[in-house]
């Protein structure tokens, strides 16, 4: 007791401590805080290129009257609502299967499923593009297997274009999420399963009532990161649908125009309106915040 009480009181302001964290704080202030605040300030300005002037809430007004913004928002939500659940379910199932010690070549299979997410985003989208063109590999295989008579218009029909992009992102990211689930599953005590087996709980019920609840924190984590990733979807749609001259649409009927792609277009492809682009980017910030909050709220620990 006495040892503790005689210890000198720490000063509120410790010079040495602040000197150590100072450089990091300064860098964070310059490269994180300042840009965030500056872009917030920019979102109240409007004009072309350097000719920005204060515009008050004009950008917000424009946002609500911009059909292309709503199209981008709708597309983003379609990708988010369809792709995230499909991908996470797939990841969970593959993780459960590959966690079974009786399966042979587990290591090889795990690597194979994880491999897509170490490939370069642009490289794989270029590959997907060449596979899904009108007379590409996918259509040729489907026709030869007799599944379809005429090639599916992946690149020219809005619906199929979205399907193709969802397939692409799912292929790329399923393995990534699977690794989290696998790691978490190995931490589950085997005795829990043994007890359940002795009690006569069937396999599928063990998965639903034991594995899934115990993975809840990890599922929450992957849901939040996947949500953020999908809301920021850019590389895939830009590479798969881009490449047209001058303007060009983002996929047939702008079906692959996401919020991020729209921000890019507003800044670099169109006459640069940095103020309006900043406004649209804050929409993503708000969406991510709201959706993450909802997900945390839905998965909160309920005290009995």
């Amino acid at each position: 007791m006495s040892a503790i009480s005689t210890r000198p009181k720490r000063p509120r302001f410790d010079v040495n401590g602040w000197l150590f964290v100072g450089p990091a704080l300064a860098l964070i202030a310059i490269f994180m805080v300042f840009p965030i605040l500056h872009s917030l300030w920019m979102s109240f300005q409007s004009g072309l290129g350097m000719r920005l002037s204060f515009a008050g809430l004009k950008n917000i007004y424009r946002l609500f009257n911009d059909p292309l913004f709503f199209m981008a928002l709708t597309n983003t939500f379609i990708f988010f609502l369809v792709q995230v659940p499909v991908m996470l379910t797939l990841a969970l199932i593959t993780a459960a299967l590959l966690n079974n010690p009786d399966i042979k070549f587990r290591g090889v299979l795990r690597t194979a499923i994880f491999l897509p997410c170490v490939t370069s985003l642009v490289a794989y989208t270029v590959l997907f593009k060449s596979m899904f063109v009108a007379n590409g590999l996918v259509n040729t295989v489907l026709i030869n297997l007799g599944i379809v008579n005429v090639g599916i218009p992946w690149m020219t029909d809005p619906f199929w274009c979205r399907v193709m992009i969802i397939i692409a992102i799912t292929w790329r990211w399923t393995g990534y999420n699977m690794i989290f689930y696998l790691a978490a599953m190995q931490n589950i005590d085997r005795s829990v399963y043994e007890a359940a087996r002795i009690d006569g709980v069937p396999t599928w019920a063990r998965f639903v009532s034991l594995t899934v609840p115990m993975l809840k924190p990890v599922i929450l984590f992957t849901t939040v990161t996947s949500t953020i990733g999908t809301l920021q979807l850019f590389d895939e749609v830009s590479t798969i649908t881009g490449g047209g001259s001058a303007g060009g649409a983002a996929g047939p009927g702008n079906s692959a125009l996401t919020l991020s792609l729209y921000i890019y277009n507003l800044t670099f492809k169109f006459a640069p309106n940095l103020g309006y682009a900043a406004t649209v980017s804050y929409v993503i910030v708000v969406l991510v915040a709201v959706l993450s909050f909802l997900q945390f709220y839905a998965a909160r620990e309920r005290k009995a």
Binding site: L48, R51, D66, S245, A246, A271, L274
Partner: protein, 417 residues
């Protein structure tokens, strides 16, 4: 390390470095190593013969990267790290000139513009000053496969003075007889709309730069043709540039309607030699329609913050505005048709091309070049273009052109501000 230490380090490294720093170095940003980059290097070599101190540093980017870098640099307002000369696609000229005032040097005092194709000069004019050194032209034409057209029961003579209605008719005959489609067409790309619209002297904007969609005769005529091409299914769908190029290099289509710069790509298939011909564009059936139009093309701009501004301007002026031999060279080596009209009097322009059955295609293209209607590309071509491209699939479904124009107008209004 700050600038001073860098300079000291270099100076310490060798005395030669100091000598090199005194000679003017002109940095150029452009895209396409086989075309713009190579041509600019050739220009630099020619100029260096008479100006031994001159040093040219041509930096090769992808076009999208260059535009992004340029736009970011100009927006930051810092001249450091920017080039002296930059290549800008004509559709974006006014966007840059108007968004970044005083960033580009006006050249009208030093360059004689009377020798250039009129439309190339007008598109880089702002408030009475011309800012560009006009470079390659995108004068448009119709490349066609003589063998397929003949198989369909038509002659090359029939192709010379077409309307688009006749074109669609021939397209049906070609498919019936040969099983080939009439053209490769990417519904996500608005290039063809722009070609058609400009051939009738129209654009997305009127002469004052105001959005003109509903009631735009040329645009309506263009969309009408796009609808006919799609509804009659005389096209082979293409996804992106490479796939579109593949449609004609692999011999799947009978015509290619695009800018002259595609000539090299068409000729890349040696086994198709003698099978191709080049004719003027088919005509729209609206008032003011011509057989002449443009797709793409770009021009050189000097940045006003450049340290070697005067040298850059003199270099461009000496070579691109005066050197007729240079234009012969880049035509032969690269297939580049410049927009200096006097260049067509040179030898290379008079040659006949065996690949096109001995047609004087360069002479033809440069004849058409002088007749391309001048239009106002405005500040927002890319914006409206993305909207128009997005509505091309609607036309395929049979939505009336008037309804599509209305929808385009509604979406474009918010983008154009």
């Amino acid at each position: 390390m700050n600038r001073k230490t860098v300079a000291l380090a270099f100076a310490g490294a060798s005395l030669f470095a100091i000598a090199a720093a005194q000679a003017a170095e002109v940095t150029v940003w452009c895209w396409d190593p086989n075309f713009n980059v190579a041509i600019m290097k050739q220009a630099g070599e020619i100029y260096a013969k008479t100006h031994p101190d001159f040093k040219l540093n041509v930096v090769d980017f992808a076009k999208a990267d260059l535009e992004q870098k340029l736009q970011t640099g100009l927006a930051s307002g810092v001249a450091d790290g920017m080039p002296d000369i930059v290549l800008i696609e004509d559709y974006g000229a006014q966007k840059y000139l108007q968004s970044f005032p005083d960033s580009f040097a006006p050249l009208s005092d030093k360059v004689d513009y009377s020798g250039f194709a009129d439309y190339k000069v007008k598109l880089a004019t702002l408030d009475g000053k011309v800012y560009s050194m006009p470079f390659d032209s995108g004068v448009a034409g119709m490349f066609y496969r003589k063998d397929m057209i003949t198989a369909a029961g038509y002659t090359p003579a029939d192709m010379q003075d077409l309307t688009w209605d006749k074109y669609v008719e021939i397209g049906k005959a070609v498919e019936a007889k040969t099983g080939k489609k009439m053209m490769g067409f990417d519904p996500n790309d608005g290039g063809l709309v722009r070609v058609l619209m400009q051939s009738a002297g129209g654009w997305y904007f009127d002469k004052d730069g105001k959005l003109s969609v509903e009631g735009n005769v040329a645009l309506k005529g263009a969309l009408d043709v796009i609808q006919k091409i799609q509804v009659n299914n005389i096209f082979r769908p293409a996804a992106g540039w490479a796939d579109w190029v593949g449609s004609f290099t692999s011999g799947e289509v009978a015509t290619v309607v695009t800018g002259v710069w595609i000539t090299g790509t068409v000729k890349s298939q040696a086994d198709q030699s003698g099978k191709w011909g080049v004719a003027p564009l088919p005509k729209l059936s609206v008032e003011g329609a011509t057989h002449y139009s443009n797709l793409g093309g770009s021009s050189w701009y000097v940045l006003s913050g450049s340290k070697a501004k005067d040298e850059s301007i003199d270099f461009l002026n000496e070579i691109y505005a005066k050197d007729i031999n240079f234009y012969q060279k880049i035509l032969v080596d690269r297939g580049a048709v410049g927009s200096l009209l006097a260049a067509r009097n040179g030898e290379a322009y008079k040659s006949n091309d065996a690949f096109f059955g001995g047609e004087p295609i360069w002479q033809n293209f440069s004849d058409w070049l002088a007749k391309v209607p001048s239009v106002n590309y405005g500040t927002f071509t890319n914006e409206v273009d993305s909207v128009v491209s997005a509505h091309q699939p609607d036309l395929a479904k049979g939505t009336s052109v008037d309804d599509v124009l209305k929808a385009i107008d509604a979406q474009a209004q918010t983008l154009v501000q």
